[in-house]
């Protein structure tokens, strides 16, 4: 009978499946949405193709013959120079020619293995820290590495002590200088920040007052004023009064500046610790130092790790400001190298290159911070 006949299912209307459904719900769900979609498509159309054309399609990649890890790659017969590069699109041979300056500044070429070793050590440090995560004595290993790493890096970079030829800090530049300032800034300012945060939450009025004053003052003024202070006024504060190392002056300014910001981040973590933890620590008779070092800070710092990374990202961005007081960081190299009579007027390529390098570093840092945030969030919920 007809009743038992198997009915073939009708196919869904074409509008309700696959790509068309997706387009309808996500791009053209209403009149307004459709118009907005078209407007954004137009925006993409006027911005992406010219950019792509400038950066890749019409750009000049005539690097000559390049030696990459022992492989000879021939891009063109001879390297392009400024004249035959054209003004309509990017001239990447300029970046290739000045790459050393962008990465090492005026660091002597024959000594460039030293920064390279430091870069390698830094990578190795991260690998080791990950590897020893489950090792019994991991705290000892990590602590000794953290102590040894700056000393070894300093000896490698600056030389002296009769081991390596001295390279004065005014020859450091480019990405090297950016990384040095950022890492020294973070490492030095962090303990100061923790002390300031504890000071601001202290019951001792004098200590609380001075910590608060310091933090609020630093946070209210722009970094430039502090860098100017460090560069012009700090030498006057010292006994000898003569100009000591310019990089050191900038580092002092940056470390004090960043300490105030770290202090606020850590204070946020401290405020999140329940009062019971303090009281329990008091109840079992721990001293102030023991209470903070063993009970409070481990928890507070753990909560504030995402914000600490966030604050470090800000510091990394702020390192570019040192060019205003005459240090030759990566951004300063753009203005420096485009003054070269052979490569006049290539600022745009320089800015785009520095933007790409900075963006990759900062974007990976911010992804990392978001990952940490998610990880610590779930842990707190359990």
């Amino acid at each position: 009978m007809a009743v038992n006949e198997l009915q073939s299912t009708r196919k869904p209307p074409i509008f309700q499946i696959g790509a068309i459904l997706w387009l309808r719900t996500n791009l053209f769900s209403s009149w307004v949405n459709g118009l907005l979609t078209l407007a954004s498509l137009y925006l993409l159309y006027i911005s992406i193709p010219p950019l792509l054309d400038w950066m890749v399609l019409s750009a000049n990649f005539n690097f000559g013959t390049v030696n990459i890890l022992g492989f000879e790659i021939k891009f063109s017969e001879v390297m392009a120079d400024n004249q035959n590069c054209g003004r309509e699109a990017a001239c990447w041979p300029y970046i290739y020619e000045k790459l050393y300056m962008y990465i090492y500044g005026f660091y002597p070429r024959e000594e460039s293995w030293r920064p390279d070793t430091v870069y390698g050590l830094t990578a190795l440090l991260f690998v080791i820290v990950r590897l020893v995560r489950n090792y019994k004595y991991k705290n000892r290993v990590i602590l000794s590495l953290i102590v040894a790493y700056p000393i070894v890096s300093y000896i490698l970079l600056a030389g002296g002590f009769g081991l390596l030829p001295v390279v004065e800090t005014h020859r450091w530049g480019g990405l090297l200088l950016t990384l040095v300032i950022a890492s020294v800034g973070i490492i030095v300012s962090f303990p100061i920040g923790v002390v300031l945060a504890l000071g601001r939450r202290s019951n001792l009025r004098v200590i609380k007052l001075f910590s608060t004053l310091f933090i609020e003052f630093i946070r209210a003024v722009p970094l430039i004023t502090i860098l100017f202070m460090a560069s012009f006024v700090l030498p006057l504060f010292l006994e000898s009064g003569n100009n000591f190392d310019k990089l050191l002056r900038a580092l002092i300014g940056i470390a004090l500046f960043q300490a105030a910001y770290f202090a606020e981040v850590v204070r946020g973590g401290l405020q999140a610790i329940p009062k019971g933890q303090y009281e329990a620590a008091d109840a079992i008779g721990l001293s102030y130092l023991q209470k903070n070092a063993l009970i409070i800070l481990p928890q507070a710092l753990k909560i504030s790790i995402p914000n600490i990374v966030g604050s470090s990202i800000s510091l990394f961005k702020d390192t570019t400001l040192v060019l205003i007081i005459g240090l030759m960081d990566m951004l300063a190299m753009v203005n420096m190298t485009s003054q070269d009579p052979y490569w006049l007027g290539r600022e745009t390529e320089g800015y785009v290159f520095v933007t790409m390098v900075m963006w990759v570093i900062l974007y990976s840092m911010s992804r990392y911070s978001r990952k940490l945030e998610i990880r610590f969030n779930t842990e707190n919920k359990n």
């Binding site: 769900s29 004098v206 001075f210 209210a220 430039i224 100017f228 006024v233 961005k317």
Partner: protein, 402 residues
């Protein structure tokens, strides 16, 4: 009182007990800190005076009266202060201050709208728009703002033509590598009345809104006020304007042989700086707005739909007021950041406070302590004002608890 207390205790305690007494310890640590800090300041300031004397640097603020003797890029501060190289260093300070405030003001306005737009677009159900907004945030937030300032300044100078070949929009607005030329408004007698009418219009609108809100609360009758408010805010000044016989005319820029003459020049330094700061800060404001909207409970929207509010009404009356409570404090903090970052103008030579006063005057006079002190004081006052504003807003927006 408290100290006497401690002392009276001390007499009756053994040495060991004194050593472990909390109050004694607290007292000791505070005195030690005070001594340390005063000792530090004493040495520092002593050294400072010795060094200043040894180097033959003047002290005091008399340098403010001296002739500045250098040119400043013509901008608003210049016009308002009638600056010439003969003016005093104090005038340079005022010029810089005005230019800082102008950048901060215009930047804050642009960045607010841009941030609001991007933040809402980020949550749009339109896939393309949400992704574009996300890309915008990731791109501009992860590039140092100083680099962005340099980049836009460089682009501006390279992309726009030489003054001789200025781009012209109906001979009213001109654009070339020296900046944007707008007609310069010249106010005549009586224009003040038009401005007063404008302000009165705004005040009347506020009162009118209050009246109709009260009426709505009492009777439930909703009145559309948009027409009335436009009439008050725009119509009232317009009537005065016409009655007084148009007391305003414009000085248009004229394309001469080599350069543009007249008009109001907006220098590329200002445009690049304001643009870069607004674009950069907008990414943070967008994130604040987004987290604010996301913080509103889903049930609120559903409840709004259930009582029959339209989508717009729900957004305006239910979602936004709650979202803004979360979003406004970080936004105000970003305003402060924008103002502080305006000091980066030093790098491209826009004559704001740190560039003209903290830079050029400092190099000429060499009195770093006084000059940087004044500059820091200005930023302190600005950030104090913004903190007060923040506290005020927080207090007003706090949820009244029972």
């Amino acid at each position: 009182m408290k100290q006497q207390n401690i002392l009276s205790q001390v007499k009756s305690l053994t040495f060991r007990e004194i050593l472990y007494n909390n109050e004694v310890r607290a007292f000791f640590f505070q005195v030690a800190t005070l001594l340390l800090i005063f000792g530090l300041f004493y040495t520092i300031i002593g050294n400072l005076f010795d060094n200043i004397e040894a180097r033959g640097i003047h002290t005091g603020f008399s340098f403010l009266k001296n002739r500045a003797g250098f040119d400043i890029l013509p901008f608003l501060g210049n016009y308002l202060q009638d600056y010439t190289p003969e003016s005093s260093n104090l005038t340079v300070f005022y010029v810089g201050l005005i230019n800082t405030l102008v950048v901060a003001f215009i930047g804050i306005i642009i960045t607010t709208f841009l941030g609001l737009f991007i933040g809402i677009a980020r949550l749009s159900n339109n896939y393309l728009i949400a992704k574009l907004a996300g890309g915008y945030i990731e791109l501009f937030r992860n590039v140092p703002v100083l680099l962005q300032i340099f980049f836009w300044y460089n682009i501006f100078i390279n992309i726009f033509p030489h003054p001789k070949k200025s781009l012209s929009f109906f001979d009213v607005v001109f654009l070339n590598q020296r900046g944007l030329y707008l007609p310069k408004p010249i106010l005549e007698n009586g224009f003040l009345l038009v401005i007063i009418a404008f302000v009165v219009g705004i005040i009347l609108t506020v009162f009118m809104k209050r009246y109709f809100n009260k009426k709505h609360d009492k009777t439930g009758v909703h009145t559309r006020t948009l027409g009335y408010s436009t009439l008050l805010i725009l119509g009232l000044p317009a009537v005065f304007f016409l009655l007084l016989g148009s007391p305003l005319h414009f000085d248009f820029a004229v394309l001469g042989k080599f350069n543009l003459n007249g008009g109001m020049q907006i220098v590329p330094e200002f445009i690049a700086l304001t643009f870069a700061l607004s674009v950069y800060t907008a990414t943070y404001i967008a994130e604040a707005i987004r987290s604010g909207i996301e913080a509103v409970d889903k049930g609120q929207k559903e409840a709004a739909a259930a009582i029959g509010l339209t989508q717009t009404q729900s957004l305006k009356l239910i979602v936004m007021p709650q979202a803004l409570r979360v979003a406004i404090p970080p936004t105000i903090n970003q305003y402060l950041n924008l103002t502080k970052n305006s000091s980066l103008a030093t790098a491209i030579g826009y004559p704001e406070l740190m560039s003209s006063f903290g830079g050029t005057v400092l190099n000429q006079v060499g009195q770093a302590v006084e000059i940087l002190g004044m500059a820091m004081l200005v930023y302190l006052v600005i950030s104090l004002c913004i903190s007060l504003l923040l506290n005020f807003v927080n207090k007003r927006m706090a949820i009244p608890e029972r």
